[in-house]
Amino acid sequence: MQVYLPIAEMSVDALLLLGMGFGVGWLSGMFGVGGGFLLTPLLILIGIPAPVAVASGANQTLGASVSGLIAQWRRGTVDPVMGGVLLAGGLAGSIAGVQLFALLRRAGQVDLAVSLFYVVVLGTVGALMVRESLRAILRRRGGVAAKPNEHTWLHGLPLKMRFRKSRLYISAIPPLVVGFGIGVLSAIMGVGGGFMLVPAMIYLLGIPTAVVIGTSLFQVVFVAANVTLLQAWQVGSVDIVLTMMLLAGGVAGAQFGASMGAKLRGEETRALLGLLVLSVAVALLVDLIHTPSSLFAIGPMP
């Protein structure tokens, strides 16, 4: 069954979209991430124009993360102060990101930029994740204790703030910078950025694991909402029909994935997720260096 996407101005198989939503939702439920980093490249791969894929991907991430945020908020595992500081950076970052996106679109380089961002970011994050989890697995076998948090130059910065729930007294600058960076990536890649935000919160900011997921979801939901709004307003590329099709499959898949993820061990899950992230990066890189079948491309006037 074909469905016409009014903003992308093309027809796509509805079952394909539902299936993709389900598969990505299943994986994201299993690994506890939004899955935007898988969805946007897949959309581009099936021929959705990159601006529509990115904007609708951000919109989908918002929908996929909202129920998680509600659940975490009820459990009291959201640090609103830390979330607010991250969000302030995230909003600024996503505004800057959408401007950059619009600029790249006018220059006709948006597809390339999206692919390059994916290759670099996913390649780096995937490699780090695999390395870290392999170390953890080895450490568990060898029985070596993990190093405690070290005192670094990050703790010497001004603008110190007290984050009660995270039991931290640190400068507001690192979370602002982290939030900003994730905001930019969110706007250009159409992802929530949870897969980068979570490690950054744990390793860079030293936030306790108990509040990391809830607080990152807080940032992801509001940044994704901001990206959706700005993409709809300035670029005009959010396709609500596409978003809804993906969400319909995604929310169902996420519930099945979550129950499966509970059975996997933490390090193994992270290693698998790292490998998945790496393989997406490699697939996109191959696409970039592979000689295209047609040396020309046509498109509408931006």
Binding site: Y4, I7, L247, F296, I298, G299, P300
Partner: protein, 248 residues
Amino acid sequence: MLACFLLLAIAPARAQLVDTARPNLAAQISTRIVEVTTGFTGAEILVFGAAERPLGGEAGDQVLVTVRGPRTPQVVRRRVEFFGIWVNGPSARFLDVPGFYAIAGTRPVWEVLPEEARAEGMLGLDTLPLAARGAQEPSFRAALLALKQADGRWQEHAVPVEVSGGRLFLARIPLPATVPTGPYLVEVLLVRERRVVAQQTLNLEVRRVGTAAWISAVARQAPLLYGVACILLASLAGWLGSVLFRRS
């Protein structure tokens, strides 16, 4: 007696005169409006009609059918290799090109009309005004022609004009799912002895209807409102989904 002869001689000549001056052509299309709904996968329009004299073959009259869509500016970009990766390089912008163009005929247009007549009536893809801004190499023009034909938005004798019973003609012009919306012109031309002797112009409109039309209209006219609606709808769907599919 003489008068009688004259009359006999004149009668067929006069009939011929009337015939060439006002050749009869009647054409119609199957629909005046093509509706693009959320389930749109492309459409086919039927252009049909009848002519007075036998059509087709080497000696008969020929029928040409053109379908032209609204003007849709296009950018053609060439990919270039840059440190091992393929990036979008120079581009050419074509401002005055139709978003949809199809020509069909009982015989190829270049066999039945001289070059000047084709250029004047813009009959055939090579007569489209493909003046580019930006990169000027002819390869951009060729790429535009090739890619537009590949996705079905430009067609040159992709389908025939079928003749049945000698005087009835019929062409099925396919519109792909990516067809641009707006006003279209369908022209039916009758060609005799390398000249257009009759023509009929019909209007066609491709328009979005239903939800698809409504969504794209809101997205264009009230983008801020549309953005807010997208946020609310996605949040609602996410929340509703987690309630429906909760497995605990």
